[in-house]
Symmetry: C3
Subunit: 176 residues, 3 copies
């Protein structure tokens, strides 16, 4: 991170590890206007309600929410240029959306890594660590796992800090 607080942090964690809460706390520490980039694709009414509720809760806590399931790179470039603190929650859902849409995953990851590298602000990215179980029997699950692992490696390589959240607590993998 630079002295003015810019820099990229990748927050990795398992399911219900507390990674999102930890990432939110990092953004609050950074100060300034906070933008929450939600990548969850709304697929039904139940989810629409949950997303709306979370958005309202975050608004009360000082966040502006942007919903963007696919074109993360454009959002990062545009919002970071406005000197905001950005939280992306999460990269793994974004990857899932692109897999379901039949996108070229390599191209999408290349574009995302480029956007992460050039954006000038404070950026916190949340992603799931999904590779520590046994090999899934389902072929699509294996492919997803491979893509998710490669995505995490690429982002980690260009991040200033990488933190693994275990039971709500941060373990430093890279950085300060």
């Amino acid at each position: 991170m630079t002295q003015d607080g810019a820099g990229v942090t990748l927050v990795l964690g398992g399911a219900r590890s507390g990674k999102s809460r930890y990432a939110e706390a990092l953004c609050r520490e950074a100060g300034g206007e906070r933008v929450y980039v939600a990548t969850a694709e709304v697929r039904d009414e139940e989810m629409r309600e949950r997303v709306a509720r979370h958005k309202a809760e975050r608004a009360g806590d000082g966040w502006r929410t942007i919903e963007e399931a696919m074109d993360l790179s454009a959002v990062l470039i545009r919002e970071a240029a406005a000197h905001r603190v950005l939280l992306v929650d999460c990269l793994t859902l974004w990857l899932t959306n692109h897999l379901l849409a039949g996108s070229s995953i390599e191209k999408e990851i290349d574009a995302l890594v480029e956007a992460v590298s050039v954006q000038p602000g404070r950026l916190v990215l949340v992603a799931n660590e999904v590779g520590f179980g046994i090999v899934p029997e389902n072929r699509l699950a294996r492919q997803f796992r491979d893509h998710a692992g490669r995505l995490n490696q690429r982002i980690a390589a260009s991040a200033d800090e990488v933190t693994l959240v275990v039971a709500g607590l941060p373990v430093t993998v890279k950085g300060r």
Copy 2:
């Protein structure tokens, strides 16, 4: 931990990670009378034999064993008050027992966290880290994973030390 060796340690680990063995070694270091709280529910004859064998082995090694599948809080309060060194193996089985019994998981976790916080002795709690694989297809497995993650976060927040055991070796997550 206080100077007299009191304090709570959460030992997290995957399957066959050596977490129980590590937790037992921590308790031996603490000295004093050691109580092993086994949370496994005995469901058949094969298991009854295995549990009896383990109990006999531990007795030879200086442990007293208490079998308590459900009401951990009462055991913690009662035994810790007697200034013993307690090992609970493990919280994840205790959670499973309550899920199968249809208990209110939130209430049970609240009561356990309270008991962990107020007990005055040396307490080592073992739990499984289960959230680092891909999303399970089975809905009950997903719910279990969510509950287990939240339980680990809650206990970790009130523990003095949290250790992740990897291939039998401790990685400090919180504490000394």
Copy 3:
């Protein structure tokens, strides 16, 4: 590790964690003739082509490749005696091969641990960490997971260094 660069490093990681790439970099740092011990059992034409391609790529990068799916101990003793730098990729596939062959896993692990302990060279062993997901429904998967966990514990106990690779980045578990 000794001053002359000998010593055993276990590199653990999840699927697509970058563990192999990290292990290769460790071997390059060690200098000297590098031998890559590939434990993948070739089962079909597609795999034969992939294995041949990887072997050619590594040859261009200065590696000699030995394919040995089963008798790792003999390879370790023979090659290490010739003062080479050895990379075994990976122990988990080797374990799978023995499980499929119906070998006595305990005996095989004992022999491997013995070979790892007595070989005098620079040895880097790659293995999968597979125990951090929920309990698999498949009984064979559960057994595999148990064996893999025990194997990792045994090797970790006799290694000089153990590193967990997360998103391509090393987390020290044991050693320097």
